[in-house]
Symmetry: C2
Subunit: 318 residues, 2 copies
């Protein structure tokens, strides 16, 4: 069987992308031409996934495709942005149409769900690496930034934490990986609807990619505040609870990355609005702490003793 | 000496980027927030460079930085777009502040020249790879597309061709690389001013990255026309002419990629306007052929005999 060339691969991608009215010119020219709605700001985020670094080397192509777009959409969710377009840079060790088709299955499934049009990109030969840039829209007056946390705000998270890190622990140990945990690692859910619904309700928002305490640290640094997190209040999935003891869970939930849930702060009087938002978006929103004066992120246990783990999330060069 | 972490690298980048008024929120949040001018379309292009594929492994960090942005700006030039912003995804084998500083020297020198603001990106550990996405603006009514070539149009190129491919030939042979040719390979000039000036003058435009005949082939396919190129009319630099014989030059100029000059088509009555544009932009614009009916790109010699080289440019998986 002959290997498809670069332009065959691009044609294969182009044949499957969906359209949007605001894509004036999509794949096939030197650049895409796009129409941003009047009165909106453009939100742009970019994230690259490298094989063996951002996903286990045995990850299915469709899951890699899903995750490459999901982690980028998660950044838009954390800005309260409505997704619109993306570009895709694929580095492939060789030209493998079968791998590409699988990759596109996952990538385009998620794109379709959020009405995101793939408008351009490039394919090159190299170690497996996927670079995605996403574009969305926000209101100039109302959007969600890291620097907006205020003393007295509650600290909240969506969904459950620690599942993705638990799957990685199982994968690294060579044991059986629980299918639910593996799904959470391979197919994170970008909280787009929750991000949009939190505009006007939340103060600061960030998505949890490096680990709760590390990412909350970014919020605190940007907002010049401190945080106190009740470790025993962090929500965990039934699977995580059944498979890991309390000490392991704390470590996974507070330090593990790759969950792509949202962490946000909101004033005390927003409780009812948050409850309504959670119900409407069909995702749990749990209060796990409070923004305080200072600059430290303190993690405390139920008995108010302080957690002393030095683990503060993932640094690619740490 | 301790190695800087991921966030130190990002801080190092952030400290050096320049600002623009339309960057509402730059590096440091989950996404950048940007303001597209009213009435303009957004032009988006993305290109990734992998070490050893898109540049020789011994390329200086500053030259890699320059080239990573230049090849992307070249895509905007080919759309007649005014550059505005870019994002940068850096995969580095290890955290090397010295390499990064050199890379930024070249990248930001070119960014400053074209008033391009670096607004976001990510750094990850992996084989050396640089992904850039550029954003610019075009007029909705007047922009330069590949599908606009018309029968009877002249075919034109900016600058000289073959220099970058010649440098690669010298590099691969292990011989001394002529400094001028090496400069043309390492520091291509994105023809932004020429692209902007050609709006309203040229019909179809493409930048030459895969090789003249291959890229002209893309224009012909998109426009449903053929082309006849006079190989002996293609402009070559004094250095290329002095170091390579006519047969070698034809091969390098017609088939060699990486020049990042513009190839465009324009109606016969545009000759004077093109001459004026060339003078204003301080770059040669040379007529090298004509758009004809059909779908083939024919390359002919001065005596009207047909060139039969099968070389049609660079395909990453060819």
């Amino acid at each position: 069987m002959s290997r498809p060339g670069e332009f065959d691969l691009i044609a294969r991608i182009r044949a499957r992308v969906s359209q949007r009215k605001d894509v004036i010119l999509g794949i096939g020219d030197d650049a895409a031409l796009l129409k941003v709605p009047a009165g909106k700001l453009l939100a742009v985020a970019t994230d690259t996934l490298n094989s063996g670094v951002h996903f286990p080397v045995d990850t299915a192509p469709a899951d890699i495709g899903w995750k490459a777009l999901a982690v980028n959409l998660s950044d838009l969710a954390a800005m309260g942005a409505q997704p619109a377009w993306c570009t895709l840079s694929l580095s492939l060790p060789d030209s493998d149409a079968c791998w590409l088709d699988g990759f596109l299955d996952g990538f385009l499934e998620l794109a379709k769900h959020h009405d995101v049009a793939l408008v351009g990109g490039d394919t090159t030969r190299g170690p497996l690496s996927i670079g995605v840039t996403v574009h969305g829209f926000v209101d100039p007056e109302e959007n969600l930034r890291r620097n907006a946390a205020k003393v007295g705000d509650g600290i909240w998270v969506t969904g459950t934490l620690g599942d993705a890190a638990a799957a990685l622990v199982q994968w690294k140990s060579g044991h059986h990986i629980d299918p639910f945990l593996r799904q959470r690692l391979d197919r994170p859910t970008p909280r787009i609807e929750a991000g949009l619904a939190l505009v006007g309700v939340a103060h600061a928002v960030i998505d949890i990619s490096d680990g709760l305490l590390a990412d909350l640290g970014h919020v605190c640094a940007a907002s010049a505040v401190g945080a106190e997190v009740d470790l025993d209040a962090i929500p965990s999935s039934i699977t995580l609870t059944s498979m890991f003891d309390a000490g392991q869970r704390r470590y996974l939930m507070a330090g593990g990355g790759d969950d792509y849930e949202l962490c946000f702060t909101a004033p005390p009087d927003a409780r009812l609005a948050i409850a309504a938002t959670a119900e409407r978006c069909d995702v749990a929103m749990t209060r796990i702490g409070v923004i305080v004066e200072g600059e430290r992120v303190r993690a405390v246990l139920e008995d108010r003793s302080e957690w002393t783990s030095q683990h503060v999330g993932y640094d690619h060069f740490g």
